[in-house]
Amino acid sequence: MPLSLLIWLPAVSGLVAVLWPARWAPRVVLAGSVITLVLAIGYVASFDRGAEGLQWVTDETWIAELGIHYKLGLDGLNLFLVLVTALLFAAALLHANLREWERPRLFFFMFALAESAVLGAFLAQDLALFVAFFDLMLIPFYFLIGAWGRGERVRATTKLVIYTLVGSLFMLAGAIATGVIAAEGGGELTFVLSDLAQVQLAEGTQQWIFLCFALAFLVKMPLFPVHGWMPDGYRAMPLPVLAVFSAVLSKVAAYGFLRVVLPLYPDASVHFQELMLLLAVAAILYGSVMAFTQTDLRLILGFSSMAQLGFIVLGIFALRPEGAQGALLQMVNHALVVVPLFFVVGALAARAGGSEDIRDMGGMAARAPLLAATFLIAALANLAMPGFANFVGEFYILLGVFESKLAIAIVASTGVVLASVYMLRAFIATMHNRAGSRAESRELSLGEGVAIVPLVVCVLALALYPQLPLARSEKSIDASVRTAQAVQR
């Protein structure tokens, strides 16, 4: 089965939705995403964990003159990211199906296009193709926020676009330079990642290209201090859009480091290792501190995500297989846990007169044990309580950092403590204490339950058996980090 099917199936379902009557659009796109999820599960089930390198490779010449290939492939790095993307888009579309949208055909088309773009970015094995999908992701989200957002959506959208566009342009420049400079020695112009990895770029060249990519990725995550678009953006996005944005788009950026940056620019990765680690630690501490001063639940989760992304970057730039392994697992974990958390925020807002401010909430556990239980499980997972896969991720990440930079590991570990402060604060302020003035305690509705509970079950399942993704990513992780680690020695 070609991987193109997986990528383009959502977009096709979106097109179908546009052509059919408006009231069918939500169902059609949801069906498309569910079929995509089934396909993704099929790939995971038949993945050969013993094999090295890419599986199910599609390699077509796309633009021969420029050496750009339409090359796709699955390996341990993207296998579970693809699965979790398909799962979370299906969940978000399900959630989006629960309410009415203006101009539903366009809304659901954009949503479907976003899924295709993200899957494409994860599966692309050609640098130019990766950049194309990476930029394609922005367009549907731009519409989704600008047209269906709330509050100051125009300001939020323009901020987001300017930030990410600047990042993207730097990345584009870096990508083109990589191909061109790699071909300078007389080789053929190519953007295929596996070919580029064979070429050793000069260290100075690597360094400026590294910075271009790093900027694009850091903005997308976002990490301190380039997160200026985040508070406005998070407040403005429609909830299901925000859920996938926070869960999946940030992971494309983190994945970019493992797929592109470490193998292609190993010398620069070592050169800038300490800078990246310090940025990561800053993001962990800053995100955590901000998360426990905010009162808007979306921003609590937003800054908490920044802290978690900080851990992921930390793991990657430990430049040890253990760290990268933990980072990859943590990408899956964080994506899987942040979506139900955002859905819970939606459920809480529905019970607090539309407010998403924790000061308007309180005591909501009383008659809603299922809501309280799902929130608690997701919150404990997010603060990486041992026993959850999130802890396994952090255990590997900190182990990797511990082995390469001891002091940074110790400073970063304070982030683990801070996470427990802000997550429990959010839980207590909403579910416990006296009932808030505007808050009512009501159990999850069937629709809310169908969107939230299965994801929480997935979190628990992964908590029981994190070996499932770990065993499949071991070889690819090693391959991704090997060059940089060799440089370091």
């Binding site: 584009l172 110790i410 207590i428 006296r434 994190p466 071991e474």
Partner: protein, 671 residues
């Protein structure tokens, strides 16, 4: 069956109980959730006995360490985190104590919690706690030790915040959780230091490699052991991470008995005993542990002297007693420390249960100032309290006498500066007798308070409007409050049975280990500690005799002093208070630890957070750093709106064009 099969069953029952009660919370009628939970823990205890018999049936020291792996949990890149249990005499000893005491406390709770609106939730949490604690002590590697360690912390949090409409309870809950996470982080980092050298997370394999991989007092090992101590100190409420334990008394009284006295808080003692091959190779770290334990046992004893909240007095006493255990195991007195862990589990659980009975008779009030004269109306509770008190004070022949003296004996026998620990230990033993009997005399002797008189008349007091005993705030009676009815041991057979069994244990368990007479604990634990350098230490007969006499004299003197101060001359304590004002303030304000942390940690971090949120984010992130682009956006957005009337598609079109344009430019230039 093999010991590990029994071990898995020990874990399976409480887990199944948790799931059954949690999922069936609405469907299960009446007291069924309570009986399911209780039954599960009794079954677990039975399996623990099975593990004991199976292990005892094996010959030789090697055969008494049995390992079983369920599956590979997170085993890649040489990080061997498997779901493994280790059954050896130490873990069997622990599962027997934990499941046995837990079973009795469950039995007590079936009645005690009956009127609570969260009845099923309570038993789901309580069973989850038992599962977690058993996982902690059965874990066969560092990874699952940490998992169990965090699980008990979470269970403790759930149960401290059980009455979640009380702000005092939720605040105490988050405090306990965060302090315990500090401990978890210590454990994780400590594990890294060990893993870095031995390359395995498995206990058996790691401990075998310790002598080869680490020199005596190796820097990495000392650092690792001190970090492990951070975990132990946080969990066992030792200085300086102890301030959560008194606040944890916000939880229901059976929780205080089970988690915050008998089992979870002793996890630090277990940890040090389990890690003894590491600590013996890093004696510098072990010394730190001994000193912290010693400091805690003294400080906590002084604080307990002046507190007026019944449960908090017992909580400080718990801190102090765990201080003895931590000091003991850190100084190499492993079997003695664990022996005291066991006797303490019995008499402290008993004291809390009796206190719960008194608090029920007071309709929720916990202040000693309000109590008095309950000996006539609650003879059974009074009797249990006295038995527990005598064991705690260390009066022969009660269990606490033998176990505490054994610790001090072996600590003193180390000689050198350990004599200071020995002396402080005995001074505190005297204080222990004083504060224990202060509590008993004030609650049970003297004139009967109205509640006691009501009870003498055959009627159990009910509060008209229930209030939070800490704040005086009226309770939110919808959910999350102790319930309108109360139950005292005198009237309910399950409570009475549980307390009676504990009282017998608290009285006679000392006979398991009497110098020169019996040594059941020593010989049972022998295989675990066979490699220890302190394994075959025989203190001199003179020291043994001296310790036994001194312990007896101090305990009796303490009781006599308490009797003189609070029964014979009840006006004296007030005079002493004003005469020794500074000392009284020090004790009453708990040595100002809470205030210290508030000033040095809580307030500064809140200020930093406020600064970042109100200033930095606005001026630097939104203003200066990205002032160019966003400033332009802000100015430009009006312009944009004017031109495009908010038509976002045009925007997107421009965006795509821009990207394509730049791409083309680069391609043309480079080609």
């Amino acid at each position: 069956m093999s010991p590990t099969t029994w071990g898995w069953l020990v874990l399976a029952f409480p887990l199944a109980g948790t799931v059954a009660v949690a999922l069936g919370w609405r469907a299960l009628p009446g007291k069924l959730p309570g009986w399911i939970g209780t039954g599960a823990v009794f079954a677990s205890f039975a399996c623990a006995v099975g593990a004991l018999l199976s292990l005892e049936g094996r010959e030789g020291e090697e055969a008494k360490t049995v390992v079983s792996t369920a599956y590979e949990y997170a085993n890649t890149l040489g990080v061997d985190a498997n779901l493994t249990i280790l059954v050896d005499p130490l873990s069997v000893f622990m599962i027997l104590v934990v499941s046995g005491v837990s079973a009795l406390i469950h039995l007590y709770s079936v009645i005690y919690m009956w009127e609570d609106r969260g009845y099923a939730r309570f038993f789901a949490y309580l069973n989850f706690f038992v599962f977690s604690m058993l996982l902690l002590v059965l874990a066969g590697n560092f990874f699952f030790l940490i998992v169990g360690w965090a699980f008990v912390g979470a269970a403790s949090y759930f149960l401290i915040s059980f009455w979640y409409r009380r702000r005092t309870a939720t605040r105490a809950g988050i405090k306990a959780f965060v302090m315990n996470v500090i401990g978890d982080v210590g454990l994780v980092l400590g594990t890294y230091f060990v893993f870095k050298h031995v390359g395995t997370l498995d206990f058996v394999a790691a401990f075998e490699k310790v002598p080869d991989e680490f020199a005596h007092n190796d820097g990495d090992l000392v650092a690792g052991c001190i970090l492990l101590l951070v975990g132990a100190v946080a969990k066992s409420a030792q200085i300086p991470l102890h301030t959560w334990l008194p606040d944890a008394m916000e939880g229901p009284t059976p929780v205080s008995a089970l988690i915050h006295a008998a089992t979870m808080v002793t996890a630090g003692v277990y940890l040090i005993a389990r890690m003894h091959p590491l600590f013996e190779q890093a004696p510098a770290a072990a010394d730190v542990g001994a000193i912290l334990g010693c400091a805690t046992l003294f400080v906590a004893a002084t604080i307990a002297l002046t507190q007026t909240d019944l449960k908090r007095v017992i909580a400080y006493s718990t801190m102090s007693q765990i201080g003895y255990m931590i000091m003991g195991v850190s100084a190499g007195a492993y079997a003695a420390g664990l022996f005291h862990l066991m006797t303490h589990a019995f008499f402290k659980a008993l004291l809390f249960m009796a206190a719960g009975s008194v608090i029920a008779a007071m309709a929720g009030i916990q202040s000693l100032d309000r109590m008095g004269g309950f000996r006539r109306s609650m003879p059974f509770t009074f009797g249990c309290f006295v038995v527990g008190g005598l064991a705690l004070a260390g009066v022969p022949p009660f269990s606490g006498f033998f176990s505490k003296d054994e610790i001090l004996l072996l600590v003193g026998d180390r000689g050198g500066w350990h004599w200071i620990l020995y002396a402080v230990g005995y001074v505190s033993a005297f204080l222990t007798a004083v504060y224990t009997f202060r509590m008993i005399f004030r609650a049970f002797l003297g004139d009967s308070v109205p509640e006691a008189r009501e009870l003498e008349g055959g009627h159990l007091h009910h509060a008209e409007t229930p209030v939070n005993p800490m704040t005086g705030e009226e309770e939110d009676t919808e959910v999350g409050f102790p319930g309108p009815g109360h139950f005292i041991a005198e009237r309910e057979w399950p409570m009475k049975t549980a307390m009676a069994i504990l009282a017998v244990g608290a009285t006679v368990l000392g006979v398991l280990q009497i110098p020169h007479v019996t040594h059941v604990i020593d010989s049972f634990l022998e295989p675990t500690f066979a490699g220890s350098e302190f394994a075959h230490h025989e203190p001199s007969d003179g020291l043994i005799a001296f310790g036994l006499v001194l312990g007896t004299v101090l305990a009796l003197a303490g009781i006599a002093l308490a009797w003189f101060l609070w029964v014979r001359r009840p006006e004296l304590p007030a005079r002493i208070r004003s005469g020794l004002r500074p000392l009284y303030e020090l004790s009453f304000n708990k040595w100002w630890f809470d205030e210290l942390y508030d000033r040095t940690v809580v307030r500064p971090s809140r200020a930093v957070g406020g600064f970042f949120r109100e200033r930095f984010e606005r001026w630097v992130i939104d203003g200066a750093l990205v002032g160019g682009p966003t400033g332009a956006v802000r100015g430009g957005s009006a312009f944009v709106r004017a031109i495009q009337d908010g038509y976002l598609r045009v925007y997107a079109g421009l965006l795509v064009l821009g990207v394509v344009g730049v791409a083309l430019y680069f391609l043309i230039v480079s080609a």
